[in-house]
């Protein structure tokens, strides 16, 4: 996939991985589809049961393999299907952000968002905004490790 990426500055198409929880954000993404709210195709969704299923190693792995941005979307705090899952996500990702900063990676490449099953519009807005941010940041070269390919 990396080879397909155009790395000239102007038409740089970032690769973005979105981890969406099954109950809220994945359904929110479905709703964005049903409502035909378009967002950049750079965003590729991986379904997880809960945002707390996202192991930081998945994110690091994505960065190592050349992802330019990773976004984790879960239920709003207090609305988690599993009661407390997104609180764990929030804490874990706060720690991971610190680690990314330490590694010299722009923290804006990782984002955590709360999107409910009713927020199709928000899902599209968030993804459009994130893709814009990543596009502006340019290619992820800091963490990319071609040995991982």
């Amino acid at each position: 996939m990396l080879a397909e990426k155009q790395s000239t500055e102007q038409n740089f198409e970032p690769l973005i991985v979105a981890f969406c929880c099954n109950w809220c954000s994945y359904a929110g993404a479905d709703l964005a589809g049903t409502a035909r709210r378009s967002y950049p195709a750079n965003v590729k969704i991986i379904k997880v049961p809960c945002s707390c299923r996202v192991n930081p190693t998945f994110i690091l792995r994505a960065f190592l393999r050349g992802a330019d941005g990773v976004i984790i979307a879960g239920c709003h705090p207090g609305d988690c299907h599993y009661t407390t899952g997104n609180y764990f996500t929030r804490r874990r990702m706060t720690l991971l952000m610190g680690l990314l900063g330490y590694l010299g990676v722009d923290k804006a490449r990782l984002r955590v968002e709360w999107v409910s099953a009713a927020e199709g519009n928000k899902f599209a807005e968030v993804m459009t905004d994130f893709a814009g941010t990543i596009k502006a940041l340019g290619e992820n070269v800091k963490l990319r490790d071609l040995r991982c390919k």
């Binding site: 589809g33 969704i45 192991n55 792995r61 599993y82």
Partner: protein, 650 residues
């Protein structure tokens, strides 16, 4: 118009490009995969090509995952060997450019193929259901739920912490807006419950411990020592008459009356058997007296009685723990502590009750005389976002205040009645009409504005308030001030919530599984919510919710076995270090620890290993991330599977 996936995704090219991926034996495209024709195609392909895994590139798995799993099963495959690549909602419908859409669809298909390679056959487990329900709380909510479950033919146990069932409704005088006598409609239900062959009532009892899970709860109930043998006592009441210790405040009468140390809370109590309040009893405090034992004609007094622990298994648990009202002492401006004639609505309820301390005669507590004027203050602690109050509307106060005001006017037209309010909220059948009747027919004076303070003036009380509509300050004379104190969940709610791992909100109300669609279920499977413990509500709403909770419980109890979600956590025993980081993050208490013999790198040892209860686990995966050694993993969403998806996408 609903567009077809093919409008923005070249499905033939998607099929073409995945065909060359290793392990892909067959790839094709079809217009309606979810139709009967599509499923036949799928079954045939499995047979013809000997497929062992299936990836369907179609609409959202939330829509048709079950359909394709069923089709796989029909083709002789394990249903969990199917993965769906969502190329409709997540691709075709959100991207307009066909090139871009097709490229993304191929990427999503590749990710699904990478994942499905690692899918393992899974089987939904089964767990039996104990055909017995436990209802916690013996108020109207608990009684109604218990009666409904019992009528459906299942055994129900009610536990009630006070000496009698009946709850708050037993304390009330009349009910709004029909004004029928509360006790008259409640006591038959109490009797029904007590007489029902399927219902066992444990009064003066509390829940000690709960373990297990949906269908298989095990509860330990502490039956507190009553000091009176229930089977021998005839309820003659001689002991209460003779008891020399008569200074305890009656809980049932909101402290407006004293009771003896050995007491039956109220006349219609069930069971009609006294209990000895050991804190008040001279026998227990000073080892004197013993009068009740001497005079009891049935010899039912047992000072030596001890708390009894009962262990029982239940399939479902219903929480019906009800409410209490907040302590008006926090609101110093109303002078509840300093003026005897400032009372709460619940005290007023006892004061006007024919079975109450004054036989229903409305008098001032300070001098026993009839009041000439009464001021009702609504929203005492409700809609208060400061630390003193509760941010929510208590829902019932507007109506019971209107009821009180109307009843006073009906009985004593000469008493001047004022009600200070912020808003009058009366949504309900016949509610607004009722409140307007109080104003229009009975001349109750409603003033929009809050009360700032209550002072003592000239032997009476002066209520300093504002009249918001007029934009002025007023001082109203009052002989009696009645505070509509906010409804708040029972003080045990939080303790019970952690015992049952039922979730609770910041105000200690139990949270429902879904605020709109699952209002009587707790997010924890097998726990149901009945009555005010879930949120403020009046009697009819409580009864309706109690019935709904009963139906949900009956639905559960009617099943012989429960199918469990096979996508649950599991432990690799050889790599588990027994640190139990997983146990701490599990919201369901599904993880326990056992000492086990493990064979680790050729070394046999006995050590602490995490153990997942698959019936309890809901499959969130929090533990799998918390695990430092990677021993904990989630079936269906394993570390390897998700990593493979990441690798395929990047």
């Amino acid at each position: 118009m609903r567009k077809h996936i093919a409008a923005t995704v070249d499905v033939a090219r998607v099929a073409e490009s995945v065909r060359s991926i290793p392990d892909v034996a067959f790839a094709t495209d079809y217009r309606y995969m979810c139709s009967e024709g599509g499923q036949t195609l799928l079954r045939q392909a499995v047979k013809e090509h000997g497929l062992s895994r299936i990836v369907v590139c179609a609409c959202s798995p939330r829509m048709h995952e079950a359909t394709f799993r069923k089709a796989a099963k029909a083709a002789g495959l394990n249903p969990y060997l199917v993965e769906i690549a969502n190329i409709r909602e997540h691709c075709s419908w959100v991207h307009k450019d066909k090139e871009v859409g097709t490229a993304k669809a191929i990427a999503l298909a590749k990710a699904a193929i990478a994942k499905v390679r690692l899918n393992t056959p899974l089987t939904a487990g089964e767990s039996p259901v104990v055909k017995r329900a436990l209802v916690i709380g013996g108020g109207i909510a608990g009684l109604q739920t218990a009666l409904d479950i019992a009528e459906a033919g299942y055994k129900v146990d009610i536990i009630e912490k006070s000496p009698s069932i009946g709850g708050k409704m037993a304390q009330l005088d009349k009910t709004f807006p029909t004004l029928d006598c509360s006790a008259c409609i409640l006591t038959p239900k109490m009797v029904d419950a007590a007489a029902h062959e399927n219902i066992t009532i444990h009064t003066y009892s509390e829940l000690e411990k709960v373990s297990g899970y949906v269908g298989q709860f095990e509860a330990v109930i502490r039956k507190k020592a009553r000091s009176v043998a229930v089977d021998r006592c005839s309820g003659c009441g001689l002991c209460m008459e003779k008891c020399p210790s008569k200074k305890a405040a009656s809980e049932f009468d909101e402290g407006l009356r004293t009771r003896s140390a050995i007491y039956i809370p109220f006349a219609q109590a069930i069971p009609n058997v006294p209990v000895i309040d050991r804190e008040q009893c001279l026998k227990f405090q000073a080892d004197k007296c013993g009068l009740c034992a001497k005079i009891c004609p049935a010899g039912a007094i047992e000072y030596g009685q001890e708390d009894e622990l009962i262990t029982n298994k239940y399939g479902a648990i219903v929480l019906a723990t009800g409410f209490t009202t907040i302590d008006p002492v926090r609101f110093g401006e109303f002078g509840y502590l300093h003026h005897k004639d400032v009372i709460t609505s619940l005290e007023f309820e006892r004061l006007t009750n024919a079975a109450g301390p004054t036989q229903g005669k409305l008098v001032k507590l300070s001098d026993g005389k009839k009041p000439k004027s009464i001021v009702f203050v609504s929203c005492v602690g409700s809609r208060d976002t400061t630390e003193r109050g509760k941010s929510y509307c208590s829902k019932i106060c507007c109506m019971y205040t209107a009821k009180h005001a109307l009843l006073v006017k009906e009985k004593y037209p000469d008493i001047a009645v004022k009600v200070f309010y912020i808003d009058v909220r009366t949504p309900g059948k016949g509610f607004d009409e009722f409140q307007r009747r109080a104003v229009e027919e009975y001349g109750v004076e409603y003033i929009k504005g809050m009360v700032g303070k209550v002072t003592e003036e000239g032997g009476g009380l002066a209520v300093h308030a504002s009249d918001v509509a007029a934009g002025t300050k007023i001082v109203a004379e009052a002989d009696l001030v009645v505070l509509a104190t906010a409804v708040t969940p029972s003080s045990d709610a939080r303790k019970l919530a952690s015992m049952l791992s039922a979730s609770i909100d910041t105000d200690d109300f139990y949270t429902e599984a879904h605020p709109k669609l699952r209002p009587v279920e707790s997010p924890t499977a097998g726990i149901f919510l009945s009555g005010v413990c879930q949120g403020p509500k009046d009697i009819p709403e409580t009864v309706a919710q109690a019935g709904a909770a009963a139906v949900k419980a009956i639905g559960l109890l009617s099943k012989d076995k429960l199918l469990t979600n096979p996508c649950v956590a599991h432990v690799n025993e050889t790599t588990c270090s027994g640190c139990l980081a997983c146990e701490k993050v599990c919201p369901y208490g599904a993880i326990t620890a056992d000492y086990k013999q493990v064979n680790s790198k050729g070394l046999k040892e006995r050590r602490l290993i995490a153990h997942v209860n698959e019936a309890l686990c809901q499959g969130c995966g929090a533990c799998s991330v918390a695990c430092p050694s990677g021993a904990m993993d989630l079936r269906g969403f394993s570390n390897k599977q998700i990593m493979a998806e990441v690798d395929a996408l990047c």
